[in-house]
């Protein structure tokens, strides 16, 4: 769909048409929100075509169609256009399009950790008045927090995924080991499983999104807010303890390189295509990794695929255990959703949010394997072990700091560097101090 004059004129004519028919109002709008754009006396927004930007292909077609039909039904005369943006370049596209009132998408999906980049510069509309109506405290709080500036909500959770441990049950069993109960036990176990040809736990040195779980588990954090300033807290004793524990696990259990990052870990866990032994006994990966793990089989269309861990005496999962049992907080993948501050149709945009946060849509997310934003509906993910582990780990998930300069830290690969140096055997206390000094000014946007 190109935005061209034709669309504009047809939109214009529909506007006049609905103005004429303005009698029937589908009034579900108790939000007079900012009042900035509420035109005239009528509470029914002018009909228009609004645009939703979705990132990547995660939202299945079925859900997109539902949004479109539902939106058109509830907002007579208005239509919804959905456009897909790709993850790797989302920030670039948002940076150029969001400030452009004429071309801005009205509603956007944004990576959870990308949210602060935009919330802190006023790119999004204040959704605080709608917060309770859209789910309030039932929404996944780590995602809500990352979309907040002060006590105002600018971006809300859209869906979440989680990460947990996938392991070779057969190998663990042969070594006389069972799923560990504490983080220390996990470390000991995977170290025992390491050989020259096999990582007990395969993790690349630069893979900080996995590695920060050890900081979180030990009660540490990446940064904290001190007044209106953000301070990097890597050299906090708890953080240091976590980093040292991670260093110990990496050195003792992983054969993956210290510069390794976002490796295809699932390949490590599988038997080779010619029956070679697996290269790892344990990996940590997002939930979808399941579909790349298992024995080779033929799919419906005759294509060779992995069977999705059908043989559970061979493949199994567990959540990363906490220091004193329970679960360690992991970094959760997923995204937030927000309304562009420059949107010309904020009421319509908010109406779309109401559909997104409706029980029907939330459950549709769950049925398609996407963690629903509203925790009331997580049961829709199913009740097998994968769904359960996803839900349990997501509940204790943590995200990166909601600091204005967080994107800079990621953009400059600072944490990759830190974790690589730790993996190479560097002095953690010293490194933590150095990187605190480096990160703190970046967090505050300079």
């Amino acid at each position: 769909m190109k935005r061209n004059r034709l669309v504009v004129t047809s939109v214009a004519s529909t506007i006049t048409l609905t103005m004429a028919l303005a009698a029937c109002s589908s009034s579900d709008s108790d939000d007079t929100a900012d009042g900035s754009a509420s035109s005239g006396a009528s509470s029914t927004p002018e009909a228009a075509d609004i645009t939703l930007w979705l990132a990547g292909g995660d939202t299945p077609d079925e859900l997109r169609d539902y949004l479109k039909t539902e939106f058109a039904k509830e907002n007579p005369g208005s239509t919804l256009t959905i456009e897909q943006q790709e993850w790797p370049d989302l920030v670039t596209s948002l940076t150029t399009a969001l400030p452009d009132a004429n071309n801005t998408p009205d509603v956007v999906e944004v990576g959870n950790t990308q949210s602060p980049t935009f919330t802190t510069v006023g790119a999004f509309r204040d959704l605080t008045p709608l917060y309770d109506e859209l789910g309030g405290d039932k929404l996944l709080q780590s995602f809500v927090d990352v979309g907040k500036v002060g006590d105002k909500n600018y971006a809300l959770p859209y869906y979440f995924g989680s990460r947990y441990m996938f392991y070779r049950a057969d190998i663990w069993k042969k070594a006389g080991l069972t799923a560990p109960k504490t983080l220390a036990e996990f470390g000991d176990d995977v170290k025992k499983l390491k050989t020259d040809k096999q990582s007990g736990f395969a993790i690349g040195g630069q893979d900080w999104r996995n590695g920060i779980s050890w900081i979180f588990a030990n009660g540490g954090d990446l940064a904290k807010q001190d007044g209106d300033q953000w301070v990097s807290t890597l050299s906090d004793p708890k953080s240091v303890k976590g980093l040292e524990q991670w260093q110990d696990v990496y050195e003792g259990a992983s054969n993956a390189p210290a510069t390794g990052k976002d490796l295809a870990y699932w390949d490590f866990l599988n038997d080779g295509v010619d029956g070679e032994a697996p290269e790892a006994a344990t990996i940590m990966a997002p939930g979808w990794a399941r579909w790349s793990i298992g024995d080779m089989t033929k799919g419906d269309d005759g294509k060779e695929v992995r069977d999705g861990m059908a043989d559970d005496s061979k493949f199994d999962i567990f959540g990363l255990p906490g220091v004193d049992g329970g679960l360690a907080p992991v970094f959760a993948g997923g995204s937030n959703i927000a309304v562009s501050a420059k949107s010309q149709h904020p009421e319509l945009a908010e109406n779309l949010l109401k559909i997104v946060f409706s029980p029907e849509y939330q459950q549709m997310l769950g049925k398609n394997g996407l963690g629903p934003a509203n925790t009331d509906y997580v049961s829709s993910l199913g009740d097998d072990k994968f769904a359960k582990t996803t839900i349990d780990t997501a509940k204790v998930s943590k995200l990166t700091p909601a600091a204005p300069g967080w994107a800079s830290v990621e953009g400059a690969n600072v944490l990759e560097e830190l974790f690589q140096k730790i993996a190479e055997g560097g002095d953690v206390t010293q490194l933590a101090k150095t990187y605190d000094a480096k990160i703190t000014p970046m967090l505050n946007g300079k």
Binding site: M1, K2, R3, N4, A55, G56, G57, D58, I82, E83, Q84, Q85, E86, W87, P88, D89, T92, S93, T95, T96, A97, D100, N102, N103, Y159, F160, G161, D262, A264, W266, D267, N270, G272, V273, D274, E276, E279, P286, G287, W288, A289, W291, S292, M296, D301, G302, K303, E304, V305, R306, G333, G334, S335, N368, G369, L370
Partner: protein, 302 residues
Amino acid sequence: MSAAPLAPARPAVTSGTTPAGPRRPRVRAGRVAGNVVAVVVALCWVFPVYWMINSSFTPDARLGARTPSFFPTHGTTANYRDAVDGSGFWSALQMSLAITLVTVVAVLAFAFLAALAISRFRFRGRRSFVVAVLFIQMLPAEGLFIAQYKMLSAADLLNSVVGVSVLYTAAIVPFTVWMLRGFVAGIPAELEEAAMVDGLSRTGAFLRITFPLLAPGLVASGVYAFLQAWNEFTVALVALPAEGSQTLPLWLRGFLNASVNEGVNWAQVMAASTLIALPVMIFFLLVQNRMTGGLVSGAVKG
């Protein structure tokens, strides 16, 4: 070839290949060794291309294998099917073709006229133009995207073929001017004049005499422009935000998505890449002879 009549006067404009001279036994041994080396180098150079094609016929689940498999023994065309069925291939193909076509034509026309000016005339500002055109290429493009977007948005040219083509043309014209300059200079104006004496109009003389001699140069520049416009990514990303107006490189980018619910399917990426490369490869092989001729004379200024 076409430039044959000029050859004695100006060897620099000859195009095509010169037939090899008579063989002498002395060189034969060297030649055999040379042939072997040439074939080996050719194999080395083509290997990554082969690897792309090989992977594109391999099921994704097998790409992670420890031991490389050199032949698609488990060959499947499913990757291609999925890539094309997936989303937007045909519309991206159309968009890419349209943009590339407009860009190539505009680049050739504009650069040709400019080349004519700087190689046939001496005028004030000529030198500055030549230097400026060279230096423009040195500006890093990574910092321009915000301004490019603002400009297109203000002109209401986002998501349009025209907008991107203007940016591409501006980026490609400088090099092409340099390339064509040599060609035009290589064709003596006397030739044209002689034709006019023989009763042809200026336009006629140009069309019948000069233009054919320029063909290799135009082909070479055209190929260069084609490749640039066909593979460009950053400008397209910024200037074509709407899903339906994506070009092929943007479409390819869509396959490089690892996210909450799926990993990257590398076999599909390779299939998609092969699909993008295919038109270029065919085009290259078709114009191959002319192009080698063209590249020569362009660089060797007459």
